[in-house]
């Protein structure tokens, strides 16, 4: 069975690239509701396919993703989506490592940099309320590991 695609192509691009990919057995996906973590996994694999062309013959064993606290991505959901999507594809052996990045702020007043705890973003040094986010929005492919 092919992976279901939305009429507006939300997931219509990846399944074509997957060729003979099969729908994961997990019931959650049969509902037809596709959370965006799956689309994120698809985008990662698309980019790895491109990268593979540049490194012909290299066997990618692991992909490292960086996910910020503000990225709007549920890490468990991402892991689960990854397992479901890679299964039965040429990426089945690929391991996934996720580095979670905490939200960090900089104070425009006193230049203090600090980690925002519990979403409190006021400067702990001078009390300035409007601080600037300098980390935590990442949603990146950091690296791939290659087996020689």
């Amino acid at each position: 069975m092919r992976i279901a695609t939305g009429p507006d192509g939300g997931y219509g691009r990846r399944p074509l690239a997957l060729g003979n990919a099969t729908l994961p057995a997990a019931g959650v996906l049969d509902s037809g509701v596709w959370m965006h973590e799956l689309s994120i996994v698809s985008s990662v694999l698309d980019q790895l396919d491109e990268l593979q062309k540049e490194h012909e013959g290299a066997r990618f064993s692991k992909v490292g993703l960086r996910v910020g606290e503000l990225a709007g991505v549920d890490v468990d959901c991402l892991r689960f989506g990854f397992e479901c999507v890679v299964k039965d594809t040429h990426w089945a052996e690929l391991a996934l490592e996720i580095e979670q990045v905490a939200r960090r702020q900089r104070c425009p007043g006193c230049n203090a940099e600090f980690q925002a705890e519990n979403w409190a973003t006021a400067c702990p040094q001078c009390g300035e309320a409007a601080t600037i986010t300098i980390a935590g929005e990442e949603l990146q492919i950091a690296y791939v590991e290659v087996e020689e």
């Binding site: 009429p7 509701v33 990662v44 973003t121 006021a122």
Partner: protein
């Protein structure tokens, strides 16, 4: 074992397309808004009240996203502005590709404003840049005051929060002050307008819209 450093955004494709859309919007001086809320918070109703009040000479187009049905487009079409429904068929958010596809047939140069009503969802739409100037988050008084704390990302990324259905405040155990202070605790600079379908706050909202429209036309407001 060796490592290839990639350091690329996962949503690279979406980001690229969003940047292209943003450039088009800039060229044609179109204000673009991306409305995001949980299902049932009143996105469509706010838009109905907005279209009703808008100067009919304003050239406004709307894209409205849902998993299924054309109901929202039908509701919004009554005011004579062009509307298109984006049926995502199960996908929980709109992405830049869908926007590009649905705008393709429209002559962008003849519009002043594009309003995108995202799929009802406070999580996934947060990750997808659609080339908009502003994300606007809607929270209704029949939800919890702690939504800004539970779903902080969207409140952090929104320029404006609409607190909707305030006409129901006498009947529901909801503290508007607490909701607003929660929103400000995750985003101190967020602008907040309280509205209801009965007309509360709509003048203030329309004024905000007019100001942003003028700022885009004058070139003072350019989306980064």
């Amino acid at each position: 074992m060796s490592q290839i450093v990639v350091e690329k955004k996962v949503l690279n494709e979406n980001q690229k397309l969003a940047a292209e859309l943003r450039e088009k919007f800039r060229q044609h001086k179109i204000l673009v808004l991306n409305l995001i809320s949980a299902p049932g918070s009143g996105k469509t109703t706010l838009l109905e009240r907005t279209l009703e009040r808008l100067d009919k000479n304003k050239r406004v187009v709307l894209l409205t996203g849902d998993l299924q049905t054309e109901n929202d487009a039908t509701r919004l079409a009554q005011w004579g502005f062009p509307v298109k429904q984006i049926i995502t068929g199960g996908t929980c958010h709109l992405d830049a590709k869908m926007i590009e596809k649905h705008l393709a047939a429209w002559p962008l140069e003849s519009f002043d404003m594009l309003i995108i009503e995202n799929v009802g969802n406070l999580v996934c739409p947060t990750s997808y840049d659609l080339g908009e100037h502003f994300k606007i988050v809607i929270l209704s008084v029949t939800e919890g005051e702690d939504k800004p704390l539970k779903y902080p990302s969207i409140f952090v990324k929104s320029e404006l929060m609409i607190l909707s259905k305030v006409d129901l405040l006498p009947y529901v155990p909801f503290s508007a002050e607490l909701a607003k202070s929660n929103a400000r605790s995750v985003h101190p600079g967020i602008r907040i307008i309280e509205t209801s379908s009965k007309g509360d706050g709509l003048d203030e909202w329309m004024k905000w819209l007019e100001e942003k429209l003028a700022a885009v036309k004058s070139g003072e407001l350019v989306s980064a």
